[in-house]
């Protein structure tokens, strides 16, 4: 069986899963069984079949597992968003459609040789920094939940951080491919641009209060530096540098301190000062309200979960119990309704995606492609870890999205572009001479 036929089979299976889940939610929502409940499943299948056709035409030798895995991940996101709020389910579906269009566009434009991007590496580097700083430009940036992540351009709002990540990976892949030997020798002047990136990462935290993006981008940088040079010492030094910077920021920025306090002690026995209302409250009723409620949601799921559409996310008076459920906390909704089985299945899909991505990096023949595939894949894994780890209290909680699952347009489109990158690299590596 060829990769493309395996992909087709995988998409049909993903379509069956998504169709069943969407029908379940529709039936629970409408309280009646009708054939129309299957409509969404067919639309979903149709969309991915179209994507499959584009892939077959543009990158016929690409990896056959990534697109079906993506289909399953977006199915999780669509089902949960639709279950929580039918309007945002619809909008999420539109974003997936746009994501598939973006995927097709990238594949069509770059189908001959994506490696031409290497020559624009510095452009991507500048673009990454500009995109990261865009939300803090007065008049453009929008502050959501105390963090500047959004850019407001009249009718269009987007989170440039997601795109910045891809630009950064493209820059690093090109730059490190060119300079890997000299950097490995440890000449100080070649570290200039790298220290600049570290400085920029710290600056971004100061400017936007966005610890999550800083951690993500700096993590990607260290991973790619390691892949390029093979020097674990650099990773250690980089981590020390980052931790030092973080410690400095911890003492300087109140919000970072608050995040860490919430992470270490979400529950208090005694009332502490609450910045939200200026009174003394238990921390679980104030600063760590979100995190604690999200943990209760996960705990309520147990092994098998409450079942789709049976989870509890609203109080009897209709108020939301967990703020930002569909974006930052989508994982705790999944963990409640689908239980440990469902959550573990989701994480397994991420693992498979990571394994396929790294396999592509291994099989790629040139340094740029290797660095690109490894960077994209590691970024994908690290982003999953940072957000889900935040929800699970492994690391301080930061507001970044769960790839392909969280509600949000920029994130979905950016991740489809990431997928396109991996497909392009794998197509080139597997093309018979």
């Amino acid at each position: 069986m060829t990769a493309r036929n395996r992909e087709l089979l995988g998409i049909v299976v993903a379509g069956l899963i998504a169709g069943t889940a969407l029908a379940t939610v529709t039936i629970a929502r409408e309280s009646e069984v009708s054939p129309s409940a299957l409509t969404y499943g067919f639309l979903f299948l149709g969309l991915y079949l179209a994507a499959h056709v584009v892939v077959r035409r543009t990158v016929p030798y690409a990896d056959g597992a990534l697109l079906p895995l993506t289909a399953v991940l977006t199915a999780f996101g669509l089902v949960l968003n639709y279950r929580l709020d039918s309007d945002s389910g619809g909008r999420q579906a539109m974003w997936v459609l746009i994501g598939v269009v973006a995927l097709s566009g990238v594949l069509i434009v770059l189908r001959h040789d994506y490696r031409a991007l290497e020559s624009y590496r510095y452009l991507f580097g500048v673009a990454a920094v500009v995109l990261l700083l865009l939300p803090s430009v007065p008049g453009l940036g929008e502050r959501v939940n105390g963090v500047k992540l959004w850019v407001d351009l009249g009718p269009i709002q987007f989170q440039p951080g997601e795109l910045a990540k891809i630009c950064l990976i493209l820059f690093l892949a090109g730059y490190l491919r060119e300079k890997r030997e000299v950097i490995a020798q440890g000449r100080l002047k070649d570290f200039g641009p790298l220290l600049a990136i570290w400085g920029a990462a710290m600056l971004v935290v100061v400017q936007t209060n966005d610890l999550g993006s800083a951690l993500l981008n700096f993590g990607i940088f260290l991973a790619m530096l390691y892949v390029a040079t093979g020097k674990a010492l650099y990773v250690g030094a980089g981590l020390a540098l980052f931790l030092g910077g973080a410690a400095l920021l911890y003492s300087a920025i109140g919000r970072v301190q608050e995040r860490v306090t919430i992470w270490l002690d979400p529950w208090t026995e005694e009332r502490v000062f609450c910045a939200l209302n200026g009174q003394l409250e238990l921390r679980q009723d104030c600063a760590s309200y979100q995190l604690v409620k999200s943990l209760y949601s996960i705990g309520n799921g147990g092994f098998g979960g409450t079942g789709l559409a049976e989870g509890i996310f609203t109080s009897p008076d209709g108020a939301e119990l967990i703020p930002y459920l569909r974006t930052d906390f989508i994982y705790s909704a999944i963990a409640q309704e689908l239980g440990l089985i469902g959550a573990a299945a989701l994480l397994l899909v991420y693992m498979l995606f990571v394994v396929r991505g790294m396999r592509i990096a291994l099989r790629a023949q040139d340094g740029f492609s290797k660095l690109l595939a490894a960077g994209l894949t590691f970024g994908f894994a690290l982003q999953t870890f940072v957000i889900v780890g935040g929800v699970l209290r492994i690391v301080p909680l930061t507001g970044i999205t769960l790839p392909f699952v969280s509600y949000g347009g920029t994130s979905i489109v950016a991740n489809f572009v990431l997928l396109a990158g991996l497909l392009l690299v794998s197509n080139r590596a597997s093309t018979p001479p």
Binding site: V227, G299, F303, T314, S315, M358, A374
Partner: protein, 495 residues
Amino acid sequence: MNRQIVRLTYVSLALVGVLVVMTTYWQAWAAPGLANRQDNAIKRVAEFSVDRGLVFSGQPRKRLARNIERKIDRRTLFFRRYPQGSLTAHLVGYSTVGRSRTGLERSLNDYLTSSNANLSTLVDKAFDEIRGKAIEGNDVVTNIDLDAQQVALDALGTQCGAVVALDPRTGKVRVMASSPSFDPNLAEERFDEISQITADCAPAAALVNRASAGLFVPGSTFKVITTAAALESRKFKPESSFYDPGYCTVYGKRVNNFDTTSPFGTIDLENALVNSVNSVFCNIGKELGAKRILDQAKLFGFYEDPSLETPSDEREPSGLYDEGKLYYPKVDSNVDAGRMAFGQERMLVTPLQMAMVAGAIGAGGRLMEPQAVARIVAPGGKVVLRQRPSLVRQAVGKDTADAVAQMMRLAVEGGTGTAAQISGFSVGGKTGTGETGVPGANTTWFIAFAGKDDESPAELAIAVVLQNQEGTGGATAAPIARSVMEAILRRTENP
């Protein structure tokens, strides 16, 4: 670069693997702990989709707590209503979405929500879930006599205090009233109104169940325990003779009788209890020592939480208290036994405890476990739990109990407790007036038991306590005890 990529793969997989491990931790290992947290709103809403069990009074059978159904967000939720309002607020408590629970609503939550897992209920529950039917909780039937409860609460009025009445033969609690009371229907949305309740004491603390968690100076009611200890010691008999100068000297200080103007002179123990003569008990206390009296008190249940079905933090143990903590002296000299013998020193007791003492005396020394709940019934009528009378211990020998009972009867016939006489019944009682030194701020008591005649065991025991009183226990608390006892005894007579 491939070696590095392989290592990076391991790191990436480890990162996601940690997520699997931690998800397992929260969903399997930590889940029960999370579920028990008071601020777990999700668990609370989950429990509100259970058709919670009802709570009934014993006689007449009325609903103390029922449910109203409301459909919210495609989910049927069951909210609590308390048809009897403030009548049984402290015992039954409340169950709300917004606040934690209290009373039986809290301590019996597992039964009321059918979370008391055994195989058959678990299977029933699973079937209900599959059929999309709400899980039905188990009903709780209490022993409360609703009419007598009403009499008690009416009699307490705006005064702060409590009434506990129980059947000393079985331990069944008939009345548990605490004043001021509150309307549990307000707990969900108008909690402010509860915290603003005022009464003849400050703070009024309407939420506190004074019947089992209120600690009061026992005053002369403690003499019952001292008398029991005296007789058990075989050093004293009811006929033992004392000389009362109107006061007693402890550590060189004079401790006066309630009325110092007319000392009794030569008096025996029986008459000393009937007339509540402090100096006599002061001397008995000095003779016996504090530990001997306290050990007798322990046999009556002091120094332990009375095993009622309400949450344990709504019950307090009786005993000596030192700086807010229960205190048992290492040696006799740590405690002023003379003052303790007539209920002063640092002795603090609950009305529930004193009703148990009166009951044990009236029932031949047998101390029964107090029980507010009669049975718990599953949907369909199967009895999940039936409370059976349970003997805590023989608190005093039968001879001693009968002798003390006889003295208490005399106190009602012609002593301090005449206001508690009920025609056709044999009532024994003891008054108490805990003086705080501030006029109009006395704590007054009446503890009593009642039976058909002097020979048969008592069928009812009661303790009444009132705060901030001007009069004596005989004048203020005894009439309340009488009317509550009458309400119960007349019913038993003509059911």
